[in-house]
């Protein structure tokens, strides 16, 4: 074979941290080749994609706005992945959070109560949990593959959103566009910084992230999640309830995705539209892996992925390149990370 691998006696700690960096460098390098192939200067491409978006205060605000849903969803998924529970349907749970939580804003559209926004967040979480409960129930009751069921439910949720904005949620004073009315001020997350779209959602996310970090490191349930994933046999002997862990991780990740969806419609978007996410639920999977399923790693890679969305938009405006470039960069990054990870367990001979 073209590559000889030799197992290390124990996983390399140094490589655990170095391999994400190696992956980023390799992605940038392939990005330059990609720009050259599309007839643009590689260095200009990299600058427009990865640097220019964050050279202004507004750009930094946008970075936080886009990183918020990614980090929030990724930390939930990461806890599931740790326990070998594969919730791949966060995108659908995000959409359900927006439908249920956003519905509250539309129902009470004349309310200026201070309770409205907190209730919307709770309802958003419930919407996501409801959607995540289906694959969790099917998995624990019938042993149905959760990857496929949660994914199928994503398509169902998106169609439901389409129906809602075309039907019950459609703006009665609009011009028959498939859109809801604009949310009133009491239903919007307050902006934190003049001249940017940075809002309270980012603060809530950082607080949740810190809370979950403590939970993972210091509580019994955090410990159980870890053992169930790492040593299922041991968990069995210790009497840990595997079904309970499946339910817990699904409800947690679904609830967080639901909050993320609600905070999108109550934040940067401000109403319900047929399309409310550029695939945050899927990108969050990459964020979780790239961040090593660890809260700090997830925060950093969430920002990196947010940058790839901003870069895609800037490249579209300035160089006329398709936004889809974002997906290519995200895919490449995950490929390179998965490839570099081999160095943690093996050395090249």
């Amino acid at each position: 074979m073209w590559l000889k691998l030799e197992a290390r006696s124990q996983p390399s700690k140094r490589m655990t941290y170095l391999s994400p960096l190696l992956a980023v460098v390799l992605t940038l390098f392939s990005g330059m080749i990609l720009f050259a192939m599309m007839g643009h200067s590689p260095l200009e491409g990299i600058y427009v994609f990865f640097v220019e978006p964050v050279t202004s205060l507004y750009g930094l605000g946008e970075l936080a706005v886009k990183a918020t849903p990614l980090v929030l969803i990724a930390i939930g998924l990461a806890i599931g992945f740790k326990a070998n529970v594969w919730n791949i349907g966060a995108e659908g749970q995000l959409v359900m959070g927006a439908i249920v939580g956003g519905g509250l804003a539309l129902y009470f559209h004349e309310s200026d109560s201070a309770w409205l926004l907190p209730s919307m967040i709770v309802f958003g979480a419930l919407g996501g949990m409801l959607w995540a409960a289906i694959p969790a129930w099917l998995k624990t009751r019938f042993n149905t593959n959760e990857i496929l069921t949660s994914l199928m439910l994503t398509y169902v949720a998106i169609l439901l959103l389409n129906y809602m904005v075309n039907g019950p949620y459609r703006d009665p004073t609009g011009y028959n566009f498939p859109e809801s009315r604009l949310f009133q001020d009491a239903a919007l997350l307050p902006t934190l910084l003049e001249g940017t779209r940075l809002n309270l959602g980012s603060v809530i996310t950082v607080m949740i992230l810190a809370g979950l970090w403590v939970m993972l490191a210091r509580t019994i349930i955090g410990f159980q999640v870890h053992v169930v994933g790492q040593a299922p046999q041991a968990a069995h002997y210790a009497g840990f309830n595997h079904k309970k862990i499946i339910w817990f991780t699904f409800l947690l990740s679904g609830g967080l995705a639901g909050i993320a969806g609600l905070m999108e419609v109550a934040g940067p978007i401000g109403q319900l539209l047929p399309s409310i996410s550029p695939g945050y639920g899927f990108t969050a999977i990459i964020v979780a892996f790239l961040g090593r399923l660890h809260p700090v790693g997830i925060l950093l890679t969430g920002l990196l992925m947010a940058l790839s969305y901003l870069g895609g938009e800037t490249a579209q405006i300035e160089m006329g390149l398709p936004v889809a470039l974002t997906g290519v960069f995200q895919g490449l990054l995950l490929f390179f990370l998965l490839a570099s990870d081999v160095l943690i367990r093996y050395r090249v001979k």
Binding site: M1, W2, L3, L5, A7, W86, I88, L138, F142, N143, T144, N145, I147, L148, T149, L151, M152, L153, Y155, V156, L159, L160, N162, Y163, N166, G167, G279, F282, T283, I285, I286, F289, P322, V323, A324, L325, T326, G327, V328, F329, Q330, G331, L332, L334, F335, L338, A339, D341, V342, R345, Y346
Partner: protein, 308 residues
């Protein structure tokens, strides 16, 4: 709506076209999984196949060339997957997902200038005399070559897996890679070949979408069909004949919901469009109740590393 023979045969013909891409992709993934490789990147490989086929046919006019290019692109995508999971031991689930995200992005990038272009569709093979038969002529003898190919592949796949030595070796590798390795079979090489074959069939399935099912290019035009094909393999309990059954059932649901919309059934179209996805979930539940784990290859998704 009238249910004359003509309409009925028309509906059956559209069901066959809707089932064909699912059948092709699922048959490829079945062989792939029988060798122990779980590739969740079907959607990504299909969509790249679809765009490459359409790009080729609109720029050269040759459908045959388009099909070959689609097969090669599917194999190229599968090669990325194989190098990562088989040579570099990466997680098969994560790598498959990355392949889908990458494929969807790459296909929009390639297809940016193809949106809105048209193609006549794959030619129908008309068989003298037989195609002129009433009803049966339409239903059985008026399809393009890939429809016939997909049906033939059901038998070929069954024959290969169950009646040939190579098929036996491939299944052995999927059931117990350590045992297969210890009696001298090249586990990694066999898995590479199976994964590349899966990629080829996915690429072909994508070509069918953009050349025959709806001859055009639209972003994300696979619309979850790769995932449905994956579910079909589970539904089929890894048996080719049941893949055929499943694909035609799903083709039927897809087409009937379209006709339901056309007939003006008093239900929002979005709810009808949910049916294929909901049916997939229901079918998965029914199958899982019969302990699917007895049917899945024992080493499915597990990495193999020999210490030589």
């Amino acid at each position: 709506m009238d249910f004359s023979l003509d309409t009925t045969s028309l509906i059956i013909v559209t069901i066959i076209t809707a089932a064909t891409p699912l059948l092709l992709a699922a048959l490829g993934e079945l062989v792939n999984e029988k060798s122990g490789v779980l590739n969740l990147g079907l959607e990504g490989m299909m969509v790249v196949g679809a765009v490459m086929a359409f790009l080729t046919v609109t720029s050269t006019g040759s459908a045959a060339l388009a099909i070959i290019v689609a097969i090669l692109s599917g194999m190229g995508m599968a090669l990325i997957f194989s190098v990562l999971t088989l040579s570099l031991q990466s997680n098969q689930v994560a790598t498959g997902l990355a392949l889908t995200i990458f494929g969807l992005g790459l296909s929009s990038l390639i297809g940016i200038n193809l949106v809105g272009m048209a193609y006549d569709g794959l030619p129908k093979l008309n068989i003298a005399f037989l195609s002129d038969l009433p009803f049966f002529g339409n239903v059985l003898f008026s399809h393009d070559i890939l429809v016939y190919f997909s049906i033939v592949m059901v038998f070929v796949t069954y024959w290969f897996l169950n009646k040939t030595k190579y098929g036996l070796v491939l299944r052995a590798v999927g059931e117990s890679h350590d045992a297969a390795h210890s009696i001298g079979y090249p586990v990694i090489k066999i898995r590479y070949m199976a994964a590349l074959y899966g990629g080829a069939m996915s690429g072909l399935a994508g070509a069918y979408l953009s050349l025959a099912y709806s001859p055009m290019w639209a972003d994300n035009m696979t619309a979850g069909r790769g995932w449905i094909a994956l579910a079909l393999v589970v539904f089929a309990m890894w048996m080719p004949s049941r893949v055929l059954l499943g694909a035609y059932m799903f083709g039927g649901i897809t087409i009937l919901q379209l006709h339901g919309q056309g007939m003006g059934i008093d239900m929002p179209s979005e709810f009808l469009s949910m049916l294929p996805y909901l049916a997939t979930i229901i079918v998965l539940v029914l199958i899982s109740r019969q302990a699917q784990n007895n049917y899945a290859p024992a080493c499915l998704g597990k990495p193999f590393h020999s210490i030589r």
